[in-house]
């Protein structure tokens, strides 16, 4: 394209569509011109129906579990029945000889868990004898011609275990004489939500920490200045993702190519991981996903089961299908760690915060990352902040990222403390937030939500006569507006006028495929249905992951820029036929026209003027126009974080302890909203997952046996249709002039505020605070003093 000189351009800014301002940004000439507000657009910001909706309602959508390849084998994994044991011997002979079995392997992959550091001064020598660290830890795998043959062969694997002492509850694991989950210090990635990572952190027995990074100022002085101090201890449970499509893969190892069909949130990440693990060049590994049945953070990487499937395929020289069953899913596919948080806030009479401290420990099983994120650190203005978070290891499956990792449990505690502070100051919780919350967007959201939820009708805590008492509560979200700069796509125009978009980005149910069609259609003057969207395949330009609420922000600007650039090429091709300079052409309503509309031809006819069969342009994610606030490699954070405020209305029966959520008003922002109906779907989903976290869900681990007692969907209780409240979703158009689309994410903020909003509403209803999740009838009754206190959570 033209020279690289930056050009000044004017972009709409603001959250009030009736009074938008303008901001000047200096942008590259490769960037598509500023996009007007949604009201003036044909497709962006419109409720365009989901592109694969037809396939999903007719059963033709192709999920990974539906893939069938010629000669495909079926694999099953053998998993440890012990919470902690040494594997003395493993005999696969009988299994390997079972009719139909084509591969049988010991499997010892340890992705996702903490890994022991070599003792100082030693060189890596013979690895220690294999140990299994939790019930469900993978021991071996078999692949056979039929699922039943694989299942039968699995029963013939002979393993001799030497059971070792184990610990399966967090308080037990912290005590001095607890059995050690790991023999020495460990390190590893922190997937689940802060604390840990690869930094060296002190470790004592099963406790790794505290990690104090993120602290600032001087809390001692801050608390000395405080006129009011509120504090409390909060507990959150282990939540499991429960994707309806369990983790699934079909791995096909061929002589010169590994192809992996997988239910994944990040095709490129899995491709890179598998290439590294199996010593293959990136060019020989292909990862494909079409329809994808939910991830919520648990399907971010290849994980151990995919490595197992690839190894089995390599040995069998045939494609191998491996689909986890629901029990495996509950034991070993990630979870949201449990936390215990001691939160303390000091404030002055005017409400301003003088000090905040968060002291937390939690358990991600044998994984790292049970921190409570950066919620308390980031949401409100306070100069003095101290954090200390520790991981406690127990013999349970490793945690992983889950919708709003860290921030979701963090918000449950912190937004309740803020609610308490407001009460102590005798001011409205919204007024307190007006004082301490620097976000103008959330301020607007509070105002809108208060009006829609009838906030002014909120009564004093516990003041209903009962026995069914009603209450209202509010809580806020905080989540970074993330961007993956390693995000690209290609847009092609073919000579018959058809248009394709290609990117490895995957649609896990958020509807990004539909949004991409809207973006391309808007730019080319076509309809979304005219655009063929080819995504979910690493043979296409590298797209972003579908996690961290960053997909839309990362991939829609390149989609628009690539469309703009390829359109420029089409203009070049038809300029002489239309008797105008290319820069004086426009694409509108299916036609290429001169700017004054005096001459035009259909898009299809214009395409016949192409010199070659097809033209294309590839664009990648440029930096936000105002620059990023932070970046770590390919990952960047936009200057303004995402907000969101939710208002809950509940009724609590003080005789039975049951909580009924009657209504949620969820007010959110995601930059420029791309598809309001799909955003509404995602916000409803986030609210319902938060409601279920607040009231029902809990993985129950038996501390005496180390077994999960509810590794299923019957006794692992998730809110269903009868538990659905009325949900009103409202979102702002928040124009910031940051990219070619100015769009950001929504998935995590929609989940973070729900549990604390419900908890604050429960307090308002009964006048007693419930500081532990899930807020079951037993906990409500014990908070009310109607039944004895039970001892702490797991």
């Amino acid at each position: 394209m033209a020279g690289n000189e930056l050009r000044p351009m004017q972009y709409p800014v603001g959250i009030d569509p009736a009074a938008l301002g303008e901001v000047e940004r200096r942008v590259s000439p490769d960037e598509a011109p500023p996009l007007p507000p949604n009201a003036r657009l044909a497709w962006i910001g419109k409720a365009v129906p989901r592109a694969n909706g037809h396939a999903k309602v007719t059963g033709s959508a192709l999920f990974t579990v539906d893939r069938k390849l010629p000669g495909m084998l079926h694999a099953r994994l053998l998993r440890s029945p012990w919470p902690h044991a040494r594997v003395l011997s493993l005999d696969l002979d009988a299994a390997a000889r079972y009719p139909g079995v084509r591969a049988a392997l010991p499997i010892h992959e340890t992705v996702g868990r903490a890994v022991p550091l070599p003792p100082p001064g030693t060189s890596p020598s013979t690895p220690p004898a294999r140990q299994v660290l939790y019930v469900g830890d993978i021991v071996a795998g078999v692949a056979a011609a039929t699922p039943s043959a694989a299942e039968a062969a699995l029963r013939l694997v002979h393993v001799e275990y030497q059971p070792l002492p184990f610990v399966a509850d967090i308080e037990g694991a912290r005590s001095g004489d607890a059995p050690h989950v790991f023999d020495g210090p460990v390190a590893g990635d922190s997937h689940a939500g802060g604390a840990g990572g690869d930094v060296p952190i002190a470790q004592q027995g099963n406790v790794r920490g505290p990690d104090r990074s993120g602290s600032r100022g001087n809390v001692r002085e801050g608390f000395a200045q405080a006129e009011i101090v509120v504090e409390g201890e909060f507990r959150t449970q282990v939540q499991t993702h429960c994707c309806l499509e369990t983790h699934a893969v079909v791995a096909d190892w061929e002589a010169d190519q590994l192809t992996v069909y997988m239910s994944t949130q990040y095709t490129v990440g899995v491709r890179d991981e598998l290439a590294r693990v199996f010593g293959l060049p990136l060019s020989r590994v292909r990862v494909v996903v079409d329809a994808m049945g939910g991830g919520f953070g648990s399907k971010s990487g290849a994980g151990n089961y995919v490595r197992a499937a690839v190894a089995l395929s390599r040995q069998a020289k045939a494609p191998v299908r491996l689909v986890l069953d629901r029990r495996e899913e509950q034991l070993d596919s990630g979870n949201r760690p449990a936390t215990v948080q001691r939160v303390r806030v000091g404030a002055r009479r005017d409400g301003s915060l003088s000090a905040v401290s968060v002291d937390s420990y939690g358990t991600a099983g044998v994984g790292i990352g049970a921190g409570v994120g950066n919620f308390a650190q980031s949401i409100y203005s306070c100069a003095n902040f101290a954090i200390a978070q520790s991981d406690v290891f127990i013999n349970a499956g490793p945690g992983s990222a889950m919708r709003g990792p860290g921030n979701t449990p963090g918000a449950f505690a912190f937004e309740q403390i803020i609610d308490e502070l407001a009460e102590r100051l005798a001011i409205d919780p919204l007024a307190l937030r007006d004082r301490i919350d620097p976000s103008a967007v959330r301020r607007a959201e509070r105002r809108i939500g208060a009006a829609h939820s009838g906030w002014s009708r909120r009564h004093a805590p516990g003041s209903d006569a009962g026995p069914v008492k009603r209450g209202r509560g509010v809580a806020q979200s905080f989540w970074g507006a993330n961007v993956q700069t390693n995000s690209a796509c290609e847009v092609r125009i073919l000579r018959d006028g058809s248009v394709e978009l290609l990117s490895s980005v995957q649609d896990i149910g958020t509807g990004i495929g539909t949004v991409l069609a809207q973006v391309v259609a808007e730019e080319l003057g076509l309809r979304p249905g005219d655009i063929v969207v080819r995504i979910g395949d690493t043979d296409f330009p590298a797209g972003p992951p579908s996690y961290g609420s960053m997909t839309t922000a990362s991939i829609t600007p390149p989609a628009r820029n690539a469309s703009h650039q390829v359109l420029g090429k089409l203009f070049d091709a038809v300029a002489s036929a239309l008797g105008a300079a290319p820069e004086n052409l426009v694409a509108v309503a299916g036609r290429i026209a001169t700017a004054d509309k005096s001459r035009s031809m259909s898009f299809r006819e214009a395409a016949t003027h192409l010199r070659t069969e097809r033209i294309s342009a590839v664009a990648s994610r440029s930096d936000d126009y105002g620059g990023f606030a932070r970046r770590f490699g390919d990952l960047a954070s936009a200057r303004n974080a995402l907000g969101g405020v939710q208002f809950a209305e509940v009724s609590v029966d003080v005789h039975t302890g049951s909580v009924h959520v009657e209504r949620i008003v969820a007010v959110h922002d995601c930059g420029r909203p791309m598809n309001p109906r799909q955003i509404e779907s995602q916000v409803q989903g986030g609210v319902l997952m938060g409601l279920s976290y607040a009231l029902y869900e809990e993985r129950v681990l038996d501390r005496n046996t180390g077994h999960v007692l509810n590794a299923d969907l019957e006794y692992y209780k998730i809110g269903r249709s009868r538990d659905v409240p009325e949900i009103e979703v409202i979102f702002l158009e928040n124009y910031q002039g940051m990219s070619a689309t100015d769009a950001y994410g929504i998935a995590e903020p929609a989940n973070i505020a729900t549990a604390p909003a419900i908890a604050n509403a429960v307090y308002n209803a009964i006048g007693v605070r419930v500081r532990e999740l899930p807020m079951t009838p037993a906990k409500i009754l014990s908070a009310l003093g109607r039944i004895p206190q039970r001892s702490g959570g797991q």
Binding site: H54, V65, L244, L688, L713, S721
Partner: protein
């Protein structure tokens, strides 16, 4: 998982055993090739059973393992993968199909027990190109996200609106109370079902 006997293992084992005993006793044993007369079923010496199933209006003759559930047979030998399996033990309703127009969890029914009853799956709900009103309403209301629970929910909602012309929101909630949608598409599902009921009536 090995090492634990689940309810499903038990069901499957019982089903297999019953088939082995009950089939000859009932005099239904047919030579290979004769199988599939009516809803007949037959051992053929290979450990497989030949059965005939009426699915979406067509008689399908297939050979199956005796312990296979209807869901497994639909998704495997019949190659109709629209029916989804989320839990394989009756806890999520993803696998819902109609058996004689009643929504059932196909993971909880052995294929050999279907007999002459007529099975309708998500693939058989539309009339040619014309979507069932519930399917059309699901698209219009965006009553799905990942879409994995969607075939099952569509089958239950379609059964409801065909049997009840004017369902209330409470009746819809009850009709789908066994379904799990982890993406939380329920509010849009309610709206879609209401809408489809109106379309069907009008």
């Amino acid at each position: 998982m090995t090492g634990t006997i689940t309810r499903r293992d038990f069901l499957k084992a019982t089903g297999a055993a019953m088939t082995g005993v009950a089939v000859p006793a009932a005099g239904l044993c047919a030579a290979p090739g004769e199988a599939g007369q009516g809803a007949g079923r037959a051992g053929n010496g290979s450990g497989l059973l030949a059965i005939s199933l009426n699915v979406n209006g067509a008689e399908r003759r297939i050979e199956i393992e005796a312990q296979m559930t209807l869901a497994e047979v639909l998704r495997g030998p019949l190659d109709m993968t629209g029916t989804k399996v989320g839990c394989d033990r009756g806890a999520c309703s993803a696998c819902t199909v109609w058996v004689d127009r009643v929504p059932v969890a196909s993971c909880m029914m052995l294929a050999v027990d279907v007999g002459e009853r007529k099975v309708v799956t998500i693939e058989g709900l539309a009339r040619g190109e014309e979507l069932h009103p519930v399917q059309a309403a699901f698209i219009a209301h965006d009553a799905m996200q990942c879409g994995f629970c969607t075939p099952g929910l569509v089958m239950s909602c379609a059964a409801l609106v065909e049997s009840k012309p004017n369902p209330s929101i409470e009746e819809i909630k009850d009709a789908i109370s066994g379904h799990l949608c982890r993406c939380g598409s329920y509010p849009h599902v309610f709206a879609a079902a209401m809408d489809a009921a109106k379309t069907l009536k009008g």
